[in-house]
């Protein structure tokens, strides 16, 4: 905790983050943050609907830290992933 939801677009494979009503976005800073288990469960349910609609695949929750109120990835892996490209 806190968490956000991430996935890949089915058609293009693009990494995306779930922004709730804002749909799926490319910039992690715009992702909707869940602060507790209930919020996360709700967010996951919404995101899963888009998976069932064949919009996204590989939906999962990830840990974030909040910097100036905006989510930033906690793990090395997600930090690299959030730059939308390799570090080199």
């Amino acid at each position: 905790m806190p968490n956000i939801i991430t996935a890949n677009l089915l058609r293009s494979g693009d990494v995306v983050y779930f922004a709730g009503e804002g749909g799926w976005v490319r910039q992690i800073s715009e992702a909707k943050v869940a602060y507790d288990k209930e919020e996360l469960a709700e967010l996951e349910e919404e995101a899963q609907r888009d998976a069932d609609q064949n919009l996204v695949i590989s939906v999962y929750a990830m840990d974030v830290d909040l910097v100036d109120g905006r989510p930033e990835p906690r793990s090395v892996r997600e930090r690299i992933r959030a730059t939308l490209g390799p570090s080199v």
Partner: protein
């Protein structure tokens, strides 16, 4: 080289149409992601860290100029202008889009290529000696058999849902340049008692969590019986390989559990009951395929060339390139040219579309239309006449493809790592780049001499670090990237798995550690002794002591002792 005939072409087109249909059914939701995933994997399409990755088969590492040009076109049109050559002689595109993949497969089919079975729990690309057909130490060209294995294993209906992936490698030379003993099945062409050639069959080699050197299953198998024997091995594995644990599903686990004698008994029993006539190739079919691999009609020529000699005297870089990257060819007056994809600062194994076009152009103009891909993630122009070497060098040089480091320390084998791969714990590319930078000086690298340095970003070991003379494994240590170093591995006939030296290093200390290891080697080596030989002679301790042993050496050692 093999050229698709009507049947092969129709097969690939049919498979492409089938996948196009499967993609359409996935996009419409008719099949779920869970049901689609094995299908997409069987067509080489992975979901990776940033995007889909498409892995295209380059059967036994052989490409025509036209095929390489098509890969360049695909890189430009459907990817981000580059591709990555792998330790299985394949090429990967890291920015594929699912909806475009059927079109990419059509472009591949146009040049007799495909992405079939480059992923999934099936028989993968069969790899071979990259110098097959041209090496001076060749016993027999393995490529006809590599092609035969390819056809036999392609959409073999019985073996598309194995317990796990299955990798076969074949070699036909005195030196094993295909790492056969680290494959699920390794095949070596050997001479029998009567002087005829046959196959020695090994099984159960592999990298990963439980690295193994393959064990001999059969010392001599008549060539005509290869396919039925392979089928017997596959059937024993398909029926008895473990399916309960993803990490214990390779054939090496089965062989270790049964013991090699019992495994061999099961294979031989299965083989003895098979209707082999219906599986093994008739002689005419073998000859039809072998005809594609007839040696080129190269005319032997003088082994010295004035232009080359003069240029060597006046141009140190060209001289170094000749010394390291050009190997003697079976035919006098020709050379095997290694095209290095390891320029320090670049991503090891990557080539831009422009670079691919340059190499293809050289193959067309000077190279009898042929290119090879090596297990070390470089390219090869296997048939260059001595008289053309200067022209080839100059063209390659303009494209940054002349780093004179074949088999040297900066010829690093590295998986894409956490920069690209979903499975990785740590990045491998920046580590490779820093090490290459430290050893970029040509005279330093040549003084160190032949050394295999392999980097894997995780225990799946796609960088084959277990068989590196120096192996580096990326691990996750409390959320930060750390690297464990192993020493003493070898992928060749003297196959061995490296030993871990000690606690892991943070990313910023790895290159220093490698420098310490090299310094230890240089301090202890005998005249002309290569790294692996020194290691085998003096053992692990001097290296361990240099890296970890001295508490007065400073904070780095302290930190590592605390971690021990």
């Amino acid at each position: 080289m093999y050229r698709y005939d009507e049947f092969d072409a129709a097969f690939v087109r049919s498979r492409t149409a089938q996948f196009r249909d499967q993609v359409a059914r996935r996009l419409s939701g008719e099949i779920s992601e869970e049901q689609f995933r094995p299908l997409r994997l069987q067509n080489g399409l992975y979901l990776q860290l940033h995007a889909y990755m498409l892995r295209i088969a380059i059967p036994y590492g052989v490409l025509s100029a036209r095929q390489l040009e098509q890969l360049a076109l695909i890189a430009r049109k459907h990817d981000r202008g580059y591709g990555h050559f792998t330790t299985r002689q394949n090429i990967q595109f890291h920015w594929a889009k699912l909806e475009e993949v059927p079109d990419v497969l059509d472009l591949l089919a146009d040049v007799g290529m495909h992405a079939i079975q480059t992923s999934g729990n099936c028989i993968r690309n069969t790899t071979a000696d990259p110098y097959a057909g041209v090496a001076i130490d060749e016993i027999e060209d393995p490529r006809p058999w590599a092609e035969i294995i390819r056809q036999w294993s392609t959409v073999h209906p019985e073996f598309l849902f194995l317990p796990r992936k299955f990798k076969i490698a074949i070699t036909g030379a005195a030196e094993d340049r295909a790492a056969t003993l680290f494959h699920d099945i390794g095949i070596r062409i050997v001479k029998g008692k009567g002087g005829e050639t046959g196959f020695a069959i090994y099984a159960g080699g592999g990298q990963g969590r439980t690295p193994c050197v393959a064990k001999e299953v059969r010392g001599f198998l008549p060539k005509a019986e290869l396919l039925s024997y392979l089928e017997a091995v596959m059937r024993v594995y398909n029926l008895h390989g473990r399916r309960d644990n993803l990490f214990k599903s390779r054939i090496k686990i089965l062989i270790n559990a049964l013991g090699i004698e019992e495994f061999r008994r099961q294979v031989e029993e299965e083989w003895s009951k098979m209707d082999r006539v219906s599986i093994d190739l008739p002689q005419e079919e073998y000859e039809r395929i072998a005809a594609y691999f007839k040696p080129l009609p190269l005319v032997p020529g003088p082994i010295t060339n004035e232009q080359v000699a003069a240029r060597r005297k006046s141009d140190a870089a060209f001289d170094a390139w000749m010394r390291n990257n050009v190997l003697p060819h079976r035919v006098a007056g020709y050379g095997i040219v290694n095209v290095s994809l390891k320029k320090p600062g670049m991503i090891p194994g990557d080539a831009t579309a422009e670079q691919m076009d340059v190499v293809a152009g050289l193959a067309r103009k000077y190279g009898h239309d042929e290119i090879r891909v090596t297990y070390q993630q470089n390219l090869v122009l296997p048939n260059i006449a001595l008289a053309d070497l200067v022209a080839v060098y100059d063209t390659l040089a303009e494209a940054d493809l002349v780093t004179a480091n074949t088999e040297l320390i900066s010829d690093i084998i590295a998986c894409p790592g956490l920069d690209y791969c979903n499975l990785a714990n740590a990045r491998s590319i920046p580590v490779a780049q820093e090490i290459a930078r430290r050893f970029a000086d040509q005279s330093v690298a040549e003084d160190i001499g032949k050394l295999r340095l392999n980097i894997s970003g995780c225990i799946n070991a796609c960088g084959h670090h277990h068989s590196g003379n120096i192996g580096i494994l990326g691990v996750d240590k409390k959320g930060t990237e750390h690297y464990q170093i192993t020493l003493g591995g070898s992928p060749k006939d003297d196959a061995e798995i490296g030993t871990i030296l000690g606690p892991s290093f943070p990313a910023e200390d790895v290159a220093d550690a490698i420098e310490t290891i090299i310094a230890t080697y240089r301090a202890n080596r005998l005249e002309g002794e290569e790294f692996l030989a020194t290691y085998r002679r003096i053992g692990r301790d001097p290296f361990k002591a240099a890296l970890y042993g001295n508490p007065e050496a400073g904070t780095r050692s302290d930190r590592q002792l605390q971690e021990a």
